[in-house]
Amino acid sequence: MSATSLVPNQGGAAETWTLPSRGRIAMYSLIIGESAIFTIFVVAYIFYIGKSLYGPTPRQVLEIPVIATICLLSSSFTIWLSERALERNKIKAFGAFWALTLVLGVIFLVYTGIEWQDLIYHKGLTISTNLFGTTFYSLVGLHATHVVFGLIGLTTVLIFTLLGKVREEHSERIQVLALYWHFVDAVWVVVFTVVYILGR
């Protein structure tokens, strides 16, 4: 079986034929799609600000989640540190920063849980109370759902790291997952601005 190629190889460009990584392209595509979902929820939130016919209003019940926000935003920094550590083949440093990222994400989620419990049981705001409740729980809940999916991904990688299966060659896959985490953080900046600053 002769292996003649389709056209005689003329050298030059074909020798250095490289294409972008499919993982990165897919993650960027997913992020574009997810951004559209968030856009619709954010637009609905902004459109319905102040349109509730009865209380409670955001100013009465919402408190700015400073600590949770600091935790989530700094987790973007720690995950970047761990990406860099893996590129330089420092597996221990990678694992440490990765675990720190996970802890920061969990703190954020726990804080959201506490906030919701306070809102539901003490301040009487549920998803069906008024229009504000509906838009608030769906937008913040949509983001929290993304945090949960991110944490599942982070935990999976952490387990593999503890089992000693993560090596330098996995750097690119790790970076694709980290892209998602950066996206979740970036969306929080928008959600935070809209819900706790503009809407309050």
Binding site: M1, S2, S5, L6, S29, I32, T39, N130
Partner: protein, 563 residues
């Protein structure tokens, strides 16, 4: 398999395969667990054809009901369910699976890849789409739910609030509708991501973006458009589900919510969706018209730019579905102008196809017949679209049969015609046999006649004031004869489609052997065997121009000297 017509040596592994007789269950398991892009592509297309027949049957029932004035062939609530299911089926379960079916089968072959970028994601996307469709149809028996009333959804396919709220739509029909569209939507998102990653990251050596076949280009553009088109629908359906199940107030006007917001969200999805459906038709035209005109496509870069332009403009035209809602005149003017702007890149495409045919040595085989029909019907559909985009005209004809005639001209006259052409064109590649030309010509001419009898006439009853979605009408309105003609045309089309379905089966067993390249075509899928082996190409191809097979067949005059 080693016949003389191979244009390329080395694309096939000629070791004889070990042949073992499979039991039915083994065969079934193989198809159910497959991750091969060709099999998944076929599954998508089979799914689409099944739902085409189902949705077509619903259309026929609707036409029987409307053929006579004061008719009671169907009960009124059944009629509402049928037109809801007809619309939803044709858009989500026929149109979208066709996009992915064609893209799955053809794109990896055209770009010289062995499979899609993510084969397992591909299988997941297909099964989500298929089960989403099953779930929608399960509503016929499972829709009564807690309240003991209701059935399939009966809220039209755009499902305006507040008709969809629990107060006006008890039962679970609307829930099945929303959930099944969320599920097929996730499948669609997965499919779109997969196509983008495949086209960008899996091209064979030498295939730069501007040497890529236009079919693959169109699929890249449509997938990009889907990323930001299908997701707003998913978001809106989640909101609707929150309203219905958790007592939310997004579209609840009594708690400050807005029904118009639903309309915006739905059409932000709904209008680009029309372009999502028509892009595969463009893609097929870009392959079939040059091959059967024996000329390379005219104005390749302009075609690429026009496709991207259409996708971009289509994102800013949605509110032309809402002129009668009562927007400000500034809003109306914006959406009139943006909608008319789509005519520019679309016109470029039509002129380029005509210029490709101009002076060509046209072979009117069945695929080319369908694509010629596509070209002229698409033009008329576009022209009535421009008419309807003018707000004052739309105020007169909104929700009339004129609108129905316009978008069926697009969906049937353009998209379905092009898809039939594409199926005739690639059938020999998929099965190794030609489809019967004789049955194909019967199919084409009956379809053409039936189509024009139905949808040309529909414009006139629309102009005479017949509104859409009505159950029946009085005899003295003067619509009776025209409605009868429309229904007769519907039956002619149904016969044509049944001939096509018969042709699919007949040719599979009795069709002429096709060989690898029956149409003397130029793109890479024709360089491998028919049907293609599981691995597509034993040796990764390498290309130097837009028509690699032309270069092989005409080494004295290769394309790359001109590009």
């Amino acid at each position: 398999m080693a016949d003389q017509t191979f244009p390329i040596g080395g694309t096939l592994d000629l070791t004889p395969p070990r042949i073992a007789k499979k039991t039915f269950l083994e065969w079934l398991l193989e198809w159910a667990t497959t991750v091969d892009h060709k099999r998944l592509g076929l599954l998508y297309i089979v799914l689409a054809i099944v739902f085409l027949l189902v949705g077509g049957a619903e259309a026929i029932l609707i036409r029987i009901q409307l053929a006579f004035p004061n008719n009671h062939f169907l009960a009124p609530d059944t009629f509402n369910r049928l037109f809801t299911m007809h619309g939803t089926t044709m858009v989500f379960l026929m149109g979208m699976p066709l996009v992915f079916g064609f893209a799955n089968y053809i794109v990896p072959l055209q770009i010289g890849a062995r499979d899609m970028a993510f084969p397992r994601l591909n299988a997941l996307s297909f099964w989500l789409t298929a089960f989403g469709g099953l779930m929608l149809y399960y509503s016929f028996i499972g829709g009564s739910g807690l309240y003991g009333v209701g059935n399939a959804p009966d809220v039209t396919w755009w499902a305006y609030a507040p008709l969809t709220s629990r107060a006006f739509s008890p039962g679970h029909g609307v829930d099945y509708w929303a959930l099944s569209l969320i599920i097929t939507g996730i499948g669609t998102l997965g499919g779109a991501i997969n196509i983008i990653a495949t086209v960008i990251s899996m091209r064979c050596k030498g295939m730069t973006l501007l040497r890529m076949p236009l079919f693959a280009w169109l699929m890249l553009v449509v997938s990009g458009l889907l990323l930001i088109t299908i997701t707003p629908l998913t978001a809106a359906q989640v909101m609707l589900t929150i309203d219905r199940y958790l007592g939310g107030h997004f579209f609840d006007t009594q708690a400050g919510g807005s029904a118009v917001v639903w309309m915006h969200f739905f059409w932000i999805f709904g209008h680009p969706e029309v372009y999502v459906l028509v892009f595969p038709a463009f893609a097929i035209a870009n392959e079939v018209i040059p091959v059967f005109s024996r000329k390379p496509i005219f104005g390749y870069p302009a075609m690429v730019a026009a496709s991207v332009g259409i996708a971009f403009i289509s994102l800013g035209v949605w509110a032309h579905h809402m002129f009668t809602v009562g927007m400000t005149s500034v809003d109306n003017a914006f959406f009139v102008l943006s909608t008319e702007l789509v005519g520019v890149p679309t016109g470029i495409k039509i002129f380029n196809w005509l210029a490709t045919m101009w002076g060509g040595k046209i072979r009117f085989k069945t695929p080319m017949l369908f694509l010629t029909g596509f070209l002229f019907q698409f033009l008329i559909a576009g022209l009535t679209g421009i008419i309807l985009s003018i707000a004052p005209f739309d105020w007169q004809l909104h929700n009339s049969y004129f609108v129905i005639a316009h978008f069926h001209y697009m969906l049937v006259g353009a998209i379905v015609f092009a898809v039939f052409g594409g199926l005739y064109y690639w059938y020999p590649k998929v099965t190794g046999r030609m489809m019967s030309e004789k049955l194909g010509k019967w199919h084409f001419w009956l379809m053409l006649i039936g189509f024009h009898v139905t949808f040309d006439t529909m414009h006139f009853v629309g102009l005479m004031g017949m509104p859409r979605s009505i159950y029946t009408y009085e005899a003295d309105r003067g619509w009776a004869h025209l409605n009868m003609i429309i229904s007769i045309g519907g039956f002619v089309q149904a016969i044509a489609v049944l001939i096509f379905a018969y042709n699919l089966f007949w040719s599979y067993y009795k069709g002429k052997e096709a060989g690898n390249d029956p149409w003397d075509a130029w793109t890479l899928e024709w360089s491998t065997a028919s049907p293609p082996p599981v691995y597509n190409f034993a040796v990764e191809p390498e290309v130097r121009s837009r028509r690699p097979l032309w270069d092989i067949k005409h080494p004295e005059d290769p394309d790359w000297s001109y590009e």
